[in-house]
Every structure is written in structure tokens, then in C-alpha cells.
């Protein structure tokens, strides 16, 4: 399946990545060749195969429902590109 330019634009919008026309062209070519490679899987009949959901046989461990951390607001905000003392700051979203 080839990935045309409109499809590239659509998935780039879903993935929130802006692209210029030149990039759209080169990505259309690259993604098409990758998808062509992937389509080898169509040779296989998997109608009766159960899809793998977990690679480990162990069941998940349970733990007590208790708070183990917290009060780390400053640490969480530390790497933010823009913040005031308590909040992440983003461009205005409400007019």
C-alpha cells in the first residue's frame, strides 16, 4: 500500500508534527517503501491465530494501595520550558 501525500498530511496532523511540502514528498516515498516491506505479512493466514498480548508468563504483582511518593511538585515542574510557581504554562486556549 502506498502512502500518498494526503495520507502523510493526515497522519502528521494526528501525530501533531508539522511538515513542509518537501518533507511530505520524501516521507511519502519512505513510508510507502516501509509499508510495502510490511505487507509481506499478508502471505500468512492468521485467521485462527490468537494475538500475543503479553510476552511474560508471570502474572502482574499486586501491592498495597498506598501513597508512596508525592509532594514533589517542584521536581515535576523543574524541567518545564515555561512555568509559573505552581503551573505549566501553555499558549492561551480559551478566547
Amino acid at each position: 500500500m502506498s502512502i500518498d501525500k494526503d495520507t502523510v498530511k493526515h497522519i502528521a496532523k494526528l501525530a501533531r508534527i508539522s511538515l513542509d511540502e518537501k518533507k511530505i514528498n520524501s516521507l511519502s516515498k519512505d513510508l510507502s517503501s516501509i509499508m510495502k516491506f510490511i505487507e509481506k505479512l499478508n502471505e500468512l493466514n492468521t485467521e485462527k491465530t490468537v494475538p500475543l498480548t503479553s510476552i511474560i508468563n508471570a502474572s502482574l504483582q499486586s501491592r498495597k494501595d498506598e501513597v508512596l511518593d508525592g509532594k514533589i511538585r517542584d521536581q515535576i515542574l523543574k524541567n518545564s520550558p515555561e512555568k509559573n510557581e505552581e503551573f505549566f504554562v501553555v499558549p492561551k486556549v480559551i478566547e
Binding site: 516501509i34 500475543l52 524541567n79 515555561e82
Partner: protein, 484 residues
């Protein structure tokens, strides 16, 4: 006395304990060789001053208890290190300084080691040549135009060039084993769940696993033991006892059954690799193993399935880089424009390709055709291994279909780059442990590795078999130090 930085990890730990040299002398030796290695471009962040002061402190306190007591180690820049910049080789994290430490690095520090620096890697561990890093290409010590492999290319190159006594990498589709093979070093991907993934920058969560990269098999056993273990903070880490790999290490393989999968004999495989594989079979026979021909019929579908599963998980994992909570942020007139510009400027080409493929295969109307199909194929690949392991103890294959290639050779053709992982990817899909051990050279004097694949949580057997190969192959890393 030989240069300290030539010594193996095991020898350094023993030497410090016996007071042949101090931790400070060891640290200074690796710093000195690292300072001269600019042309290899292995380091993203150097922690040399802190390392020296930790070493001095160690020499005062003389606490020799840990498995790695007194030895500094540089690690792949994918492990979060507290108060030390962690970039994942990406512009989008170029200014990120974690306020916490990954479990795996923390395990090393608990055993008496300390951080020497953060090593270059492909951006978000996506690549097989270390040509996708925002911080530039890494060069292979075996040649100034050669790639070191990827994504743990900086780790492999630094290790081979004696800039660090050992290192740790991560392996999602071959990112430890392929660069180990390209640089004549040992690299092991543990069973999925053996090491905690907590605090490692995520690429594809159902495939990612951290592992040791070392100068020889003995060191590999030691470092694996130091880094492994159950971690309540990673729900997919498994609570199974970690063996004392070093004390159980033996090169005897009497009675062990080794499978040779016919599907790994691919078209256009260089003669040298085919010959090396045969030699590997002879080495293991000599060690007492029994060789059996086996079939893993779905091998050829592993790589296409991987290029659905890994990008799908990556597109989801990398959604967090939005310019709000941490990392790079670009300007935009509104929130969505800010997101789109941040991600466009912050991610490199290969990462964009994978995010877009992942977004596509998960998008409405395509999920069943691609992602669900790939998960079914993944089950078939796992079934192949499960069936084979009913009769055998381990599998022997080449590590890679070629030796290290030239920079730029495959950069413009993503699929040809992906094909380099043809022998390593199936193991990640099945969650099994595998090791690459250097075993010989091709006609251009470039190192080649053999891969041993084990049963889940049986790292010991593949370590032992690797030791049997290592002893017989008597591999020596040979290159001129052209970079200093």
C-alpha cells in the same frame, strides 16, 4: 604495568580490592583515554570531575563490598541519571535533567560503581548505525569511516576503544548485540523482565530491555548480575531469583543441545559469516555440545512484524514530548501550533518516520490489518521458539548479516538499514535472552559476532556457551589507535 584502561572490569574490581591500584588511578586512566577520543564522538555528557571526587572518596572509605566496587562506568544516554542531563540522543530532550535515577543505573551504583559519563546513541534508540543522533555520528574504532552499529553505538565504540571498563545499553531489536558484533565486544540482551525498565527513556515498551556490554564474557556475567532484578516500579519486571552468573560460569557444554536454524542462512550472506557460523558449531562440539538442525519457519516475518509493533508503541510513547512538561519547546500562535512546531523541530527524520508509521498502523480502520496482524505473527514467532526449545538448550546463529558498514551507505534507504537487524529482531519479539560474542574477522579485518539465544530466564546457559566460544576463538580486538 600495562595501561589500566586496557584491563577488563573483573580485573579492575580485583585490582582495586588487592590495592594494586586505587579507584582514583583507575578513574583517571579512563578519563585520560576519554579526553583523547573526540574523533569517536562517543560522549554526550562527561562527568569526569564528579567521578574523580567519588573515586577519591571511595579510596578514603575503602568499602570493597560491592560487585563493582570502585570502578567508574559510562552508560548509554537513554538511562535517566539524577541531576545529570539525559538526552536520548534527541534535540527534544537536549536540556532535560532528570530529578530521579533509573533503577538499572541505581543498581550499578549500589554495587560500588559510579558514573563516568553519558554515551551517544541513535535518537530514541531508533537506528542501526548511530547516524540518527542529534549529537552527531559515532565512529567505530575499527575505521574512521565505519559506523559502530546502533542504537547503542556510543556505548560499543567507547567500550572497544577502552574509554570505559564496561557499559550498559538497551536492546529493542538488536541495539546491544549488533553494535557489539560491529566492534568486537560482548553484548547481552536479557530476557524481557529480567531488568527493570523504570527510568529508561521508552521506545517500544513490550520489546525494550537493558543489558550489559563488556570486553569479555566473564565481565558480562558480572555486570548482568549487578544490574538485574525485580523492581516494584516496573510491573513487567519479573520476580525471579537472579543467579550468581559469575560463580556458575563454565566453558563446559557437555550434553547441551544446540539448535542451528536453517532460516538464518540468508541470501547474499558473506562467506566469512557462513564460515564463522560453522566454526562456532565446531567450537561448541569441541566443548561437548550436541548439534541439532532446527527450523524456525516464521523467521522471515519477524522484521515486518517488528516494523509494525515497534513504531506503534513508539508513536504512543513519544506522544509525551509536547513542549509542555520538559524538553525542547518551539513557538506557536496557539497550543496546537506549539505542539506541531515543537515536535517537528525536536524530532529527527528517523524518529518522525517511525512515529508516522506507528500512527498510521494504529489509525482508525487500519488497526486490525496491521497491529492486530503483527501481534498474531508475533505469537507465531514465539511458538516457533517454544517448540524448538522443547528439544534444545540454546540456538546458535550469526549476530548480523554483515560486518560494520561505511557511514552514509544505508542512510537514505530505511528498509536496507532495517535489514541489518534480521537476526536479532525475532528474539525481542519472543522476549528471549541472547548474547553476541566476538568470534572472528572478515577479509577486511572487521570483527564478526556469533549470537546465542537462550530459553527465557536462562542467561546462564548462553553465558557459558559464549565462554566456550570465546576460549576457542581466542579473539583479540586489533586496531591502531588512530583517534588520539
Amino acid at each position: 604495568m600495562a595501561n589500566i584502561s586496557d584491563f577488563t572490569l573483573t580485573k579492575l574490581v580485583a585490582g582495586i580490592k588487592k590495592k594494586d591500584f586505587t579507584s582514583q588511578e583507575v578513574t583517571e586512566s579512563f578519563i585520560s583515554s576519554s579526553e583523547k577520543s573526540k574523533k569517536l564522538n562517543t560522549y554526550i555528557t562527561k562527568c569526569f570531575d564528579e567521578a574523580i571526587s567519588t573515586a577519591k572518596n571511595f579510596d578514603k572509605k575503602k568499602n570493597y563490598k560491592g560487585l563493582l566496587a570502585g570502578v567508574p562506568i559510562a552508560v548509554k544516554d537513554l538511562f535517566c541519571t539524577k541531576n545529570v542531563k539525559t538526552t536520548a540522543g534527541s534535540k527534544i530532550l537536549h536540556n532535560f535533567t532528570p530529578t530521579y535515577e533509573s533503577t538499572v543505573t541505581n543498581n550499578l551504583w549500589s554495587q560500588g560503581s559510579f558514573l563516568l559519563g553519558k554515551l551517544n546513541c541513535d535518537e530514541f534508540a531508533m537506528g542501526s548505525s548511530n547516524e540518527t543522533s542529534f549529537f552527531g555520528n559515532v565512529t567505530n574504532p575499527f575505521g574512521d569511516k565505519l559506523v559502530p552499529g546502533g542504537s547503542s553505538g556510543g556505548s560499543a565504540s567507547a567500550l572497544a576503544a577502552n574509554l570505559t571498563p564496561a557499559t550498559i545499553g538497551t536492546d529493542t531489536g538488536g541495539s546491544i548485540r549488533q553494535p557489539a558484533s560491529f566492534t568486537g565486544t560482548v553484548g547481552l540482551k536479557p530476557t524481557y523482565g529480567r531488568c527493570s525498565r523504570w527510568g529508561i527513556v521508552a521506545f517500544a515498551s513490550s520489546l525494550d530491555q537493558a543489558g550489559p556490554m563488556t570486553k569479555n564474557v566473564e565481565d558480562c556475567a558480572l555486570l548482568l548480575q549487578a544490574m538485574s532484578g525485580y523492581d516494584p516500579k516496573d510491573s513487567t519486571s519479573v520476580d525471579i531469583k537472579v543467579d550468581n552468573y559469575s560463580s556458575k560460569l563454565t566453558d563446559k557444554a557437555k550434553g547441551l543441545k544446540i539448535g542451528i536454524p536453517k532460516e538464518y542462512r540468508v541470501e547474499n550472506m558473506p562467506d566469512a559469516i557462513d564460515k564463522l557460523w560453522k566454526k562456532g558449531i565446531d567450537y561448541l562440539k569441541d566443548a561437548g555440545a550436541i548439534i541439532k538442525n532446527i527450523s524456525l519457519p516464521h523467521t522471515k516475518y519477524a522484521l515486518p512484524a517488528y516494523y509494525i509493533v515497534a513504531p506503534a508503541e513508539a508513536s504512543s510513547n513519544l506522544a509525551r514530548y509536547d513542549g509542555v512538561k520538559y524538553g525542547h519547546r518551539s513557538k506557536g500562535n496557539n497550543l496546537f501550533e506549539m505542539y506541531e512546531n515543537t515536535r517537528s523541530e525536536g524530532f529527527g527524520d528517523e524518529v518522525k518516520r517511525r512515529i508516522l508509521i506507528g500512527t498510521y498502523v494504529l489509525s482508525s480502520g487500519y488497526y486490525d490489518a496491521y497491529y492486530l496482524k503483527a501481534q498474531k505473527v508475533r505469537q507465531l514467532i514465539k511458538n516457533d521458539f517454544d517448540k524448538a526449545f522443547n528439544d534444545i538448550d540454546a540456538i546458535l546463529t550469526p549476530s548480523t548479516p554483515s560486518a560494520a558498514f561505511k557511514m552514509g551507505d544505508k542512510k537514505d534507504d530505511p528498509v536496507s538499514m532495517y535489514l541489518n537487524d534480521i537476526f536479532t529482531v525475532p528474539i525481542n519479539l519472543a522476549g528471549l535472552p541472547a548474547i553476541s560474542v566476538p568470534a572472528g574477522y572478515d577479509k577486511n579485518d572487521l570483527p564478526l559476532g556469533l549470537q546465542l539465544i537462550g530459553k527465557a530466564f536462562d542467561e546462564q546457559t548462553i553465558l557459558n556457551l559464549s565462554l566456550a566460544i570465546e576460549k576457542r576463538a581466542d579473539f583479540k580486538r586489533k586496531f591502531k589507535v588512530w583517534w588520539s
